[in-house]
């Protein structure tokens, strides 16, 4: 019997799996691993409760009801928003956390837990951007200067993975998989580096590449991931050949155009933090292969971008 612990649950709209490589089969060792996995998964629930765009009671949604006034927020929301804004500034808005309402208007408003359509009361008046959000580190406040709904989708999942990774760090050897956003700690059960396949963007049966990593996060943004509900019907017949057609309207929006970004089919980033990897993968996806790679290199992270024509660009 294996002494590893693999705990899988559905959280944050995806399948989250925590895998602690075991050393020891005693009840005590097992219990420690179980406790560690429980605490790691608890972070996902905590992040979701703060950062969910789908839950009207989330701190994020509460924030969107108070326009024009500084709101004291929790450290988690503050740090997440501050980081998202920093990425927005760094990418001149190629990454922009204020696209929440536009996501809603494109149909990304279904709560995975209930299947119910969820829509905030925020009505967008004209184009909003990250410049309409102000964070104050001294007072720990966030001010929304115009009615807008923040979307931390490209940050929150990575953040949760990072929290879980910190929680599992004492076990040294572990893996966290949040719907393809990964953190691989230490080594696998074979005492080798973790092998990570990158899903081929046009053929779910193929891997684009296999990486061997340790103590790294690996996140991929793909145009095949969350297809807009208006486009979901073709998935019924989606064979490999149809995958490309399906991907025309996906979940990664180019803030400059308001519609889906199309220069990149898949962007994978390997970094020390999943939050960084997730955000930079999303930003690189929007920026396109040339500027995207430049962004990754500027921040000293590794990555591979694949265009819809399957041309590949990697960091040097």
């Amino acid at each position: 019997m294996s002494d590893a612990l693999i705990h899988t649950v559905v959280l944050m709209g995806t399948v989250v799996s925590v895998h602690v490589v075991g050393h020891g089969t005693s009840q005590r060792a097992r219990r420690e691993r179980q406790r560690g996995a429980d605490r790691a998964l608890a972070w996902f629930r905590r992040v979701e409760a703060v950062c969910s765009r789908f839950d009207a009671s989330s701190e994020l949604r509460q924030l969107s009801t108070r326009i024009g006034t500084p709101v004291v927020v929790s450290p988690m929301l503050f740090q997440a928003v501050q980081f998202a804004l920093a990425v927005a500034v760094d990418t001149n808005g190629a990454f922009d956390p204020t696209i929440g309402v536009r996501m809603e208007s494109r149909g990304f408003n279904r709560d995975y837990r209930t299947g119910a359509d969820v829509r905030s009361d925020v009505s967008a008046t004209g184009a909003v951007s990250f410049r309409d959000v102000e964070v104050n580190a001294a007072t720990h406040t966030i001010t929304l200067h115009r009615p807008l709904l923040l979307d931390l989708g490209a940050v929150a999942k990575g953040l949760a993975v990072d929290m879980a990774a910190l929680e599992l760090m004492p076990f040294a050897n572990f893996a966290i998989d949040a719907g393809g956003d990964l953190y691989l700690g230490g080594r696998n059960a074979d005492d080798a580096m973790w092998s990570v396949g990158i899903r081929h963007p046009r053929d779910a049966t193929q891997l684009l590449d296999t990486l061997h990593v340790t103590d790294r996060a690996v996140c991929t943004s793909g145009d095949y991931e969350r297809v807009a509900p208006t486009m979901a019907a073709p998935m019924d017949a989606a064979g490999d050949a149809d995958a490309a057609k399906v991907s025309r309207d996906h979940h990664i929006i180019d803030p400059s155009t308001g519609s889906a970004a199309h220069h990149v089919a898949s962007a994978t980033v390997i970094a020390l933090s999943a939050m960084v990897a997730d955000a930079l993968a999303t930003a690189a996806f929007v920026l396109g292969p040339i500027d995207g790679i430049a962004l990754l290199e500027r921040h000293n992270v590794q990555g591979v971008l694949v265009t819809p024509a399957l041309e590949r660009f990697t960091t040097s």
């Binding site: 050393h23 703060v50 927005a88 104050n136 696998n188 074979d190 396949g197 684009l208 990593v213």
Partner: protein, 314 residues
């Protein structure tokens, strides 16, 4: 970079060199920020701020462990009450989201060997530099790509705002190499775990981790060795996705995977688009690589269904 400084100042404004000065980004179009450093600092700050809540569950476990130690040393460990575990976990959840700035800084430095290690790991690319990443293209389309397309940068990143103390870096390094080191080192990460109180740990964890490590064998059950131990027969596993469940059936003969099929497709959409996955499993005699980045939804469901089925075969 997550320095010890930012750890202690978890809820204070992060280092001024990283964050836009004063209030906000409004109208600021100034230079590039070090996103890696900022991200790492944010992660550690959030963890530290939320640590107190997690800590309550850990403390409870530590006290339970202390009480239980005599029993454990004679070989009998009372069965954990699963409800207690669940209760502790829910208590953590219940307090979600309202972490106040007053919680973190007080306790974190004392509690945080693993935090420090994590921070150092986050902080220092060069700790594991060179050991990092090697790309081995497997798909046909990869053939034109250089194998080392994604190579670890050899230059130390200029991202370390405050260099991590060398002692902390050392700790991170030893944690990273623990699996190939000797028994005491293997147990070290466990000792530093917040769930184990220090006095208890050496007594109970050392004997546990010694045999595997001292034998010079891979410390945990290797999956390939486990593969040989698969029982013959048909095994079922179920994977869940937002679109529904997938049930996979794996046939084991002579300890090898003979076939893997989707035995039930309960998703809202046709399973035809993942129909080729079962063949892949047979070819690799495993549920693919360790993990797949970017694989979501039903593909994941199949993966977990196979993992589940293979678990049954052990």
């Amino acid at each position: 970079m997550a320095s010890a400084l930012s750890l202690r100042g978890a809820t204070a404004p992060p280092a001024s060199g990283v964050i836009p000065k004063g209030a906000g980004t409004r109208g600021s179009s100034d230079g590039r920020r070090n996103l890696v450093a900022l991200g790492s600092a944010a992660v550690v700050a959030i963890y530290a701020a939320g640590f107190m809540q997690t800590q309550s569950a850990a403390d409870r476990f530590a006290s339970e462990s202390a009480v239980r130690r005599p029993a454990s040393s004679v070989g009998g460990v009372p069965q954990e009450d699963p409800h207690q575990t669940a209760g502790a976990s829910h208590a953590v959840d219940g307090a979600t989201g309202v972490e106040r700035p007053t919680t973190g800084p007080v306790d974190v430095p004392a509690k945080g060997p693993e935090l420090a290690a994590a921070a150092a790991a986050s902080a220092s690319t060069n700790v594991t530099a060179g050991g990092g990443i090697a790309a081995t293209p497997k798909s046909p389309s990869a053939s034109t790509i250089a194998a080392n397309a994604i190579a670890e940068p050899s230059t130390a990143p200029p991202v370390v705002a405050t260099p991590a103390p060398s002692a902390v870096v050392g700790e991170a390094a030893s944690a990273a190499t623990a699996p190939v080191a000797s028994a005491p080192v293997v147990s070290a990460p466990v000792v530093s775990s917040p769930v184990v109180s220090a006095p208890v740990a050496p007594v109970t964890t050392a004997p546990v981790s010694t045999p595997a490590a001292a034998a010079g064998a891979p410390a945990a059950t290797p999956s390939h060795a486990a593969a040989a131990a698969w029982r013959d027969g048909f095994f079922f596993g179920r994977g869940t996705s937002r679109h529904g469940d997938i049930e996979a059936m794996v046939e084991i003969k002579d300890g090898r995977i003979m076939s893997a099929v989707i035995s039930q497709c309960l998703t809202r959409y046709s399973c035809s688009w993942i129909a080729a996955l079962p063949g892949q499993v047979v070819a690799r005699q495993n549920a693919d690589v360790d993990y797949v980045s970017g694989a979501t939804q039903s593909a994941n469901a199949f993966y977990y269904a196979i993992v589940e089925a293979l678990k049954q075969a052990k």
